[in-house]
């Protein structure tokens, strides 16, 4: 092949340009420390690295979120600890005071201690973490618990503050005060403040609050005189023909005797006229001394309840007999439910074929009753404490797995994107010597011509 000087020139230029380009790229890799400096260097790797980087950001964000849970959960744990301690002390006091050897003066001193415990628990229930109420739900402008004459009101809401712990799951960082301190929505839930207030009143010698309210929604759609099926006959006593019970028209009331033991009574209602109802109170055989197992016993005579059209009790037209539960001998004191204690004030007659009965009963008497409630409250608190612990564990585990994920992602991204430093340096050195060699050989090839020898 014929070789010309311009051809040599083209080749040298081309070769040097390419070598220089490779050298520049190697240099870029060495100085940036990264294998991928432009998307086109490795489109798949580059987007994967970008994806991983944003994933790293998300993981870091989740990590920050989890760090955020810690003050809330720790604080909740310490509040629960305080409450349990307070309740334990209250229990000790109650056990002590149940003995008859203490004088009213000593009991009043104990009452003051109970009041202190109450104040303390009220203040921890209003704990703020990072300017947010721990037990107030989403509500931040109002203190969640305030004491009024009739009890402690919850002014928070049911908001769970949730924190994102990974792409798909969240962790609540607050506890709802009405669940924790008032037992709302908790099976056998106890109102801690109520217990303490009741106990304080008891120790102060005040009669325990005896309010029993029974709200009945009565159905005026049922024709007057309509009875219920005899299957629901009450116990061994033959009920009046118009006095058959139905499930929807009965409710169970638990009353506590002076020892704090609960007794289940059943109220039965039957419609006898447009606005007249009859009721009776029956008790389970277990509640009656000498009762036959499986039978229900009437413990109070039937009377007539007459309602005004608005649903309020027409006291004048009703024949309310005192319900004295003589048969209930289960301890020192008899149980007496006075007629006046039955409040039907809240009832309304609904034009619906059902009768909804709601019952709010806080008839609490005696130390034993309080002891039972305190035990239940401590259990309740321990359950929440376990929940706080579980959430802390959850956060810890989530944090740990995020850390592992972060390192793995970092490693993966580094593997994709970062230059192998040794290889990059040796590449660079190799390309540099190749470039030097190309330069040297170019200068050797281009210089000599016949002219050099014709001088």
């Amino acid at each position: 092949m014929r070789v010309t000087s311009q051809m040599l020139g083209i080749q040298v230029n081309d070769g040097l340009a390419r070598a220089y380009q490779r050298l520049a790229r190697a240099q870029e890799v060495v100085t940036s420390g990264r294998r991928i400096n432009h998307v086109a260097d490795d489109p798949i790797g580059a987007t994967r690295a970008m994806d991983l980087r944003s994933f790293e950001n998300a993981v870091a964000q989740y990590g920050r979120n989890i760090d955020n849970t810690s003050p809330f959960l720790r604080q909740a744990d310490s509040v629960f600890d305080d409450v349990v301690k307070g309740l334990t002390r209250t229990k000790e006091l109650t056990v002590q005071m149940a003995n008859d050897v203490y004088s009213p003066v000593e009991r009043r001193a104990a009452a003051r201690e109970v009041r202190q415990i109450f104040e303390h628990l009220l203040s921890v229930a209003n704990t703020k973490v990072e300017n947010r109420f721990l037990f107030g739900g989403f509500i931040n402008g109002t203190v969640p618990f305030t004491e009024t004459a009739s009890g402690v009101n919850y002014l928070g809401d049911n908001g769970e503050i949730r924190i994102q712990t990974n792409a798909t799951s969240t962790l609540p960082i607050n506890f709802l005060g009405n669940e924790v301190f008032q037992g709302a929505g908790v099976t056998g839930g106890q109102g801690i403040f109520d217990i303490l207030r009741d106990l304080e009143a008891l120790l102060n010698g005040q009669s325990a609050p005896n309010d029993m309210s029974l709200a009945v929604n009565l159905d005026d759609a049922i024709a007057a005189g309509a009875g219920f099926t005899p299957v629901d006959a009450v116990g061994t006593e033959a009920p009046a023909a118009t006095f058959n019970g139905a499930a929807d028209f009965s409710t169970t009331v638990t009353v506590f005797d002076s020892k704090g033991t609960g007794h289940d009574l059943t109220f039965l209602f039957a419609k006898t006229g447009a606005t007249t109802y009859k009721y009776r109170v029956v008790a389970n055989s277990a509640e009656i001394t000498g009762g036959t197992p499986g039978n229900l016993y009437q413990v109070a005579p039937e009377g007539t309840l007459e309602f005004n059209p608005g649903g309020t009790l027409n006291a004048g037209a009703s024949t309310l007999t005192d319900i004295t539960m003589i048969g209930l001998v289960n301890g020192a004191a008899n149980i007496t439910v006075a007629a006046a204690d039955l409040s039907f004030a809240g009832s309304t007659q609904l034009a619906q074929p059902s009768a909804v009965l709601t019952l709010n009963q806080t008839n609490v008497n005696g130390y034993a009753a309080q002891l039972g409630r305190i035990d239940a409250a401590i259990d309740q608190m321990l359950t929440f404490r376990a929940e706080a612990g579980a959430r802390m564990n959850h956060a810890q585990l989530a944090g740990d797995s995020l850390e592992v994920l972060r390192l793995r992602t970092l490693g993966e991204r580094s593997r994709i994107e970062d230059a192998d430093v040794l290889a990059a340096y040796s590449d660079f050195a190799r390309l540099q010597s190749a470039f030097d060699a190309a330069l040297k050989s170019a200068s050797q090839v281009l210089r000599p011509s016949l002219l050099d020898f014709l001088r």
Binding site: M1, R2, V3, T4, S5, Q6, M7, G9, I10, Q11, D14, I36, N37, H38, V39, A40, D41, D42, P43, I44, A46, T47, A49, M50, D51, R53, S54, N57, A58, A60, Q61, Y62, R64, N65, N68, E130, N131, R132, F133, G136, G137, F138, I139, N140, G141, D157, G159, I161, R162, I163, Q164, A167, T170, E417, S449, L450, L451, L454
Partner: protein, 465 residues
């Protein structure tokens, strides 16, 4: 036969050697002229004379000066020039917009930071610092989107501007080729090849092919016809012109073809190869495609965030208004991604709560907003915003990579073919020096011949005195 004949041979030889030396000189002088083909003196022996029963040589004669050309390589060079022109323009355009999408700190990082700030807000929905941070990140994201779109549009404008200078260059080249056609036609009427005109024309044709992707045919009269996808650019001594001063609906230049006869029409779609074709393709399809996808991402972002934001309530307990200013159409969406000014100036208006009564503690809407990070969208091919963007970047990267490879490949083919052309037509100084020495020696010998003949004449004249 005679001294006179010898003198005549010597004189002719002196002349021939001078032609040779002049050609060598021409070659050396043009050793580095691009497109120059070396020339060679064709020396032939003169017709002998038959005298006294023998043929007597009558010296030499210059039959012509030929340029050394490999026609096949020349044709191949045209094709390669077209391909390199196409690949070069593609690579140039794509590599420029590639830098708009850096591998770190681009739109993906801004998106990530935006959703991160929303997550931080969920951790403390009442916090003003967190709200201000959300505004900052949202502004940065909008700014980033707008800037990238602006850069892409300006990349289109740059291509558009380049189109104008290219059409001007094409007009110059077609004019010159037509003129050279005329000169070659005129010069070669005598039968001798117009070497230098042909070299000049070939150089211009190569450039024209590189720009337009045209094909070239040489006619019997030595003139060339240049045709680009049916458009007659040069025919004999007549040249068409291209004009790029009219604009289409999108505000981009059209390529208008004006035939020598004055026929004028829009030929934008007829250019498919060469630099013009590649520029148009990049401008109207590739870059526009990327812009369209970016707009789709922007409009999806704005609509989803706004929809979720509207479900929430701000610190005043009012329902969330638009988070970003609503975007009426997909086209141009990325250029107008902006935070709602009312929100941007009052961080309390960010709707972090899901209930009007539970502010400021309620973080559910902030959580939901932050969760949009991992929501997929049908409009993005069932990808998340982030993945939709990364798919766009990845596609662009692949295009750049393949454009780079295609350019490298074609460029090296061109270089090799250029070397082959040089091998045939290029000037080798050593070779020319050798020829120079040969011609010089022949010249010296011829002059010795003159002197000898002169001496012989002298001797004859002395004899008669």
């Amino acid at each position: 036969m005679g001294i006179l004949a010898t003198l005549s041979i010597a004189a002719q030889s002196l002349k021939n050697q001078q032609v040779g030396i002049q050609t060598v000189g021409h070659n050396i002088a043009n050793a580095s002229t691009p497109g120059f083909s070396r020339q060679r003196v064709e020396l032939v022996t003169e017709y002998p004379s038959f005298e006294g029963g023998v043929f007597l040589g009558q010296g030499s004669n210059v039959a012509g000066v030929q340029r050394v050309v490999d026609r096949f390589v020349e044709a191949e060079l045209l094709t390669l020039n077209r391909d390199v022109g196409t690949a070069e323009a593609e690579h140039q355009a794509l590599a420029a917009i590639q830098e708009v999408f850096p591998t770190t700190g681009g739109i993906d990082a801004a998106l990530s930071a935006f959703f991160g700030a929303l997550s931080d807000l969920a951790n403390n929905p009442g916090g003003l610092a967190e709200r201000v941070s959300v505004i900052g990140k949202a502004n940065a994201l909008g700014e980033n989107l707008r800037q990238v779109r602006e850069l892409l549009t300006s990349a289109q404008r740059n291509l558009d501007d380049e189109l104008e200078s290219i059409t001007n260059r094409v007009n110059l080249l077609t004019e010159q080729i037509a003129t050279l056609n005329g000169q070659i036609n005129f010069s070669e009427a005598s039968g001798a090849e117009a070497n230098d005109f042909r070299d000049q024309r070939q150089t211009r044709i190569q450039e024209l092919v590189r720009l337009t992707g045209a094909t070239v045919r040489e006619e019997a009269d030595g003139q060339v016809t240049v045709v680009s996808n049916g458009l007659l650019l040069v025919s004999g001594q007549r040249a068409a012109t291209l004009d790029s001063s009219t604009f289409n609906g999108a505000g981009f230049r059209q390529v208008t073809f004006q035939s020598p006869d004055g026929l004028t029409f829009d030929a934008t779609t007829l250019f498919q190869t060469g630099k013009i074709g590649a520029l148009l393709d990049m401008r109207d399809n590739h870059i526009q495609g990327i812009i369209d996808r970016l707009d789709q991402i922007a409009v999806t972002l704005v609509n989803t965030v706004n929809a979720q934001h509207a479900l929430g309530f701000d610190l005043n307990g009012a329902a969330g208004s638009d988070f970003f200013t609503a975007i009426p159409a997909v086209a141009g969406a990325a250029a107008v991604v902006r935070m709602n000014p009312a929100l941007a100036s009052d961080p309390r208006l960010i709707a972090a709560a899901s209930s009007a009564t539970a502010v400021p503690g309620d973080n559910r809407n902030a959580l939901a907003l932050g969760n949009l990070r991992s929501v997929t969208h049908a409009s993005l091919g069932n990808l998340t915003l982030q993945d939709g963007f990364l798919a766009l970047v990845g596609d662009l990267g692949s295009q750049v990579e393949s454009a780079q490879m295609s350019l490298d490949f074609r460029q090296s083919l061109l270089t090799q073919t250029q070397a082959r052309r040089e091998s045939a037509s290029g000037v080798n100084i050593d070779e020319e020096m050798t020829k120079l020495i040969l011609f010089q020696r022949a010249f010296e010998a011829s002059s010795l011949l003159v002197r000898t003949a002169d001496a012989m004449y002298g001797a004859l004249i002395e004899m008669t005195r």
